[in-house]
Structure formats: structure tokens, C-alpha cells
């Protein structure tokens, strides 16, 4: 498990244990919290560089003023700028997005009762994405676009302001990828194959 409370001197860009991938805009530390830089353009991405991560991983933030288009992110591509992100509260809605090849796709919208002190968490285990608020599961979806990456934060807007990050591996996660099942392994499949 890796953590950062951002309680240190202002820094722009954040540096240290955080890396901004090439092509992304930077985050910074302001008043002991984690901010996007006010300049720059989509996407803002930072990933934790002090540890290595399995494909089954999580990322979470405590929230200050909430925004709609950024949050904790998993399976961040250090060169592709891809990733899954759980975006923060807006009129009692949270949202799950993926960013692939420069395009965002909204995977889900959840109703919730989050507050600005809630902890927002996203985990990816195999092809299962799970999001939590305050430790309670909010939603769980299946998505296969991204198979691995690193953990950190992602935003498509410069208004992000978060605190108390934590990330790491999902310990004991069951293998999430489908196992190979050939035609003979599933009842009925041999019959169906001839329908073409």
C-alpha cells in the first residue's frame, strides 16, 4: 500500500514520487493538498512511481471540493495516457469513465450521498471495475479495454483539488481474466458452432 497526505511545501509540478507521463498536464501541491495545475490541457495525469503494481489494483482519494471530471485512476498507461477514473460528486452523481486513445467513454452514472469528506475509491480486478464511497460499494461493472497499468490520478479539467491519496494492489484478488474454454468445454457450444 502506498500513501500520500501531501502535507509538505507547495510544489509545481508535484514531482517526487509522482510522475506526469509525457503528453499529460501536471498536478501540483498547494496548501497541503493535490491540485491540477491551472494551466495545461486535458488530460492531467499523475501516477505513483515509488512502487510497482499488479494488474489488480486500486486508487483512492479523500475529497475536497468535488468536481465531475477527475478522480482516482487505475490502469493508467504511462505512455498511452489511458486509464479508468472514478469522478467525483456532482449533484449526487458520481461517474465512472475510461480514457482510451485520447477519448473518454462514460461507463456508468451512480446516485449517491457522498460528501466532500468522503473517500472515493476505484479498483480493477481482472475485467471487474468496482467503485466505492466511504468504504461502501457503489457499483461494479465489467470492462476489458485496459488490462494493466499504474495507479494515480486523472482529470480532464483543471479544477481538481483532492487530498489523502492511497493506492496499491488488490491483495488476494481472483484472476479476473476469462479462462480458456474451448468448444468442447462448454455444453451446447459444439451445437451452436454449426449455426453459421
Amino acid at each position: 500500500m502506498s500513501t500520500d497526505d501531501f502535507n509538505r511545501s507547495n510544489a509545481d509540478p508535484i514531482g517526487g514520487n509522482w510522475t506526469t507521463p509525457s503528453g499529460a498536464s501536471t498536478f501540483r501541491i498547494v496548501s497541503n493538498s493535490f491540485h491540477t495545475t491551472s494551466s495545461g490541457s486535458d488530460p492531467w495525469i499523475a501516477y505513483w512511481n515509488a512502487d510497482t503494481f499488479d494488474a489488480d489494483q486500486y486508487s483512492q482519494f479523500g475529497v475536497l471540493p468535488a468536481i465531475d471530471k477527475g478522480g482516482p485512476a487505475v490502469r493508467i498507461g504511462t505512455s498511452t495516457l489511458n486509464g479508468y477514473m472514478y469522478t467525483l460528486r456532482q449533484t449526487n452523481l458520481t461517474r465512472l469513465y475510461k480514457r482510451i486513445s485520447g477519448s473518454y467513454t462514460q461507463i456508468a452514472a451512480y446516485t449517491d450521498t457522498a460528501t466532500t469528506t468522503s473517500v472515493f475509491k476505484i479498483s480493477a480486478v481482472g475485467s471487474t471495475l468496482t467503485v466505492y464511497i466511504g468504504g461502501s460499494q457503489v457499483g461494479q461493472e465489467t470492462d476489458t479495454a485496459l488490462e494493466d497499468g499504474v495507479v494515480g490520478a486523472m482529470s480532464s479539467t483543471s479544477a481538481a483539488n483532492w487530498d489523502n491519496w492511497e493506492g496499491g494492489n488488490v491483495e488476494g484478488a481472483a484472476a479476473g481474466q476469462p479462462t480458456i474454454k474451448r468448444w468442447g468445454g462448454i455444453p451446447g457450444m459444439a451445437i451452436n458452432r454449426g449455426v453459421w
Partner: protein
């Protein structure tokens, strides 16, 4: 109403302010939904619990497919309509039989969509590029597309040994979907 499944078009341009998302649902304030995209193809499978009025308004749109509420009912005499609806969306469906339940059909459809997602995430491409149809053969695809298609399948631990140059997109997608195996596919709390 209970949570139901719908297939709707994709809208948006993919920017942060205009993300790809399922048509109609994003305009329903306060409504939770979960969506599975078909990679870069222009449709979503969506799970949502709507009010009766919201449901009726949604299904009044000609571009919305509403899956029956009882997923464990057999498709029966609706088989041809289901096949036509899916194939119009470039989802191969000739394998659908009258005795299959909607849940079984949708699991295969979802697995096809998930393979398309990996092709997008892994190879950055869509299946049905210009001129490519369900009948297009593997050996008619551009070399780069063939390589990415195989790479996407192998990244999901799928066996590609049965694919040949004359395998059609229709056959390839079904065969990849069948290799998903017994693991549930979850969408908005619905297990397929």
C-alpha cells in the same frame, strides 16, 4: 420498475466535456445507469432502473432496443426479430436459437462487446472499419488489423488456433465470445 437492459446508440465526441455515452440516459437527471460499450462501434448495452414513464418514453424511440424484463424467458418466436436487431448493429447473431434465454444470448452479446473493447484498448482500432462487414474474411482485413485482432485475443488468453484466413468476422467474434467461459459478466448489478 426493476432494473432492465437496453441497447441504445452512442453519442458524444469523446472529449472530457462530451464523453462517449449512451444516448438518452445522460439526459435523465438523477437516474443511475451502467453501460457496456461495443468498443468503437456506435452502440451501448445499458442497465438501468427507470420509472414506467421513463421506460415508455425511452422505448418510444426507434433506435432503442428494450430487452424483456424476464431475462430467463426463452426467446421463442422472437428469435428472428432478435437476430435481425442484433445483426443490424453488427453483432453476429445467427447462433441464436428459439430455446435460448435472453440471459444466455446477452452474455454472448456482452462477450462480443468485451472483445471489441479489448481490441479498442489494446489495438486502438474498431472492428467495422470502412468496408468491413460481418461477412468479411480474416484474410481480407488489412495486415495491421489482423495483427491487432490476434493480439487482442491473445491478451485475453483466448486460443486463436482455430482461426483461418477464411474465417469471417461473424465467426471470429462468436468464437472469441464463446471463450469467455463461465465467469459472470456484470453490468449494473445484473449478472449475465
Amino acid at each position: 420498475m426493476a432494473k432492465r437492459l437496453y441497447i441504445v446508440p452512442k453519442i458524444g465526441t469523446g472529449t472530457g466535456d462530451d464523453a462517449f455515452r449512451p444516448k438518452y440516459f445522460a439526459n435523465l437527471d438523477g437516474v443511475a445507469w451502467s453501460a457496456m460499450d461495443y468498443g468503437l462501434e456506435p452502440h451501448f448495452l445499458v442497465a438501468s432502473e427507470l420509472t414506467t414513464d421513463q421506460h415508455n418514453a425511452l422505448v418510444a424511440n426507434a433506435d432503442v432496443i428494450a430487452v424483456p424484463a424476464n431475462l430467463d424467458a426463452q426467446v421463442g418466436t422472437n428469435r428472428d426479430a432478435v437476430v435481425d436487431a442484433l445483426e443490424t448493429l453488427n453483432v453476429p447473431a445467427g447462433w441464436v436459437t428459439t430455446t435460448m434465454t435472453y440471459r444466455k444470448i446477452l452474455k454472448i452479446v456482452a462477450a462480443i462487446m468485451l472483445f471489441a473493447q479489448r481490441l479498442h484498448g489494446h489495438g486502438g482500432i474498431r472492428i467495422f472499419g470502412s468496408g468491413i462487414t460481418l461477412a468479411t474474411k480474416f484474410n481480407q482485413l488489412p495486415a495491421a488489423t489482423r495483427t491487432k485482432l490476434i493480439g487482442a485475443a491473445q491478451s485475453m488468453n483466448f486460443d486463436t488456433s482455430s482461426l483461418s484466413g477464411t474465417s469471417t468476422i461473424r465467426q471470429i467474434l462468436k468464437e472469441m465470445a464463446d471463450q469467455w467461459g463461465v465467469k459472470d459478466i456484470k453490468l449494473g448489478g445484473i449478472a449475465l
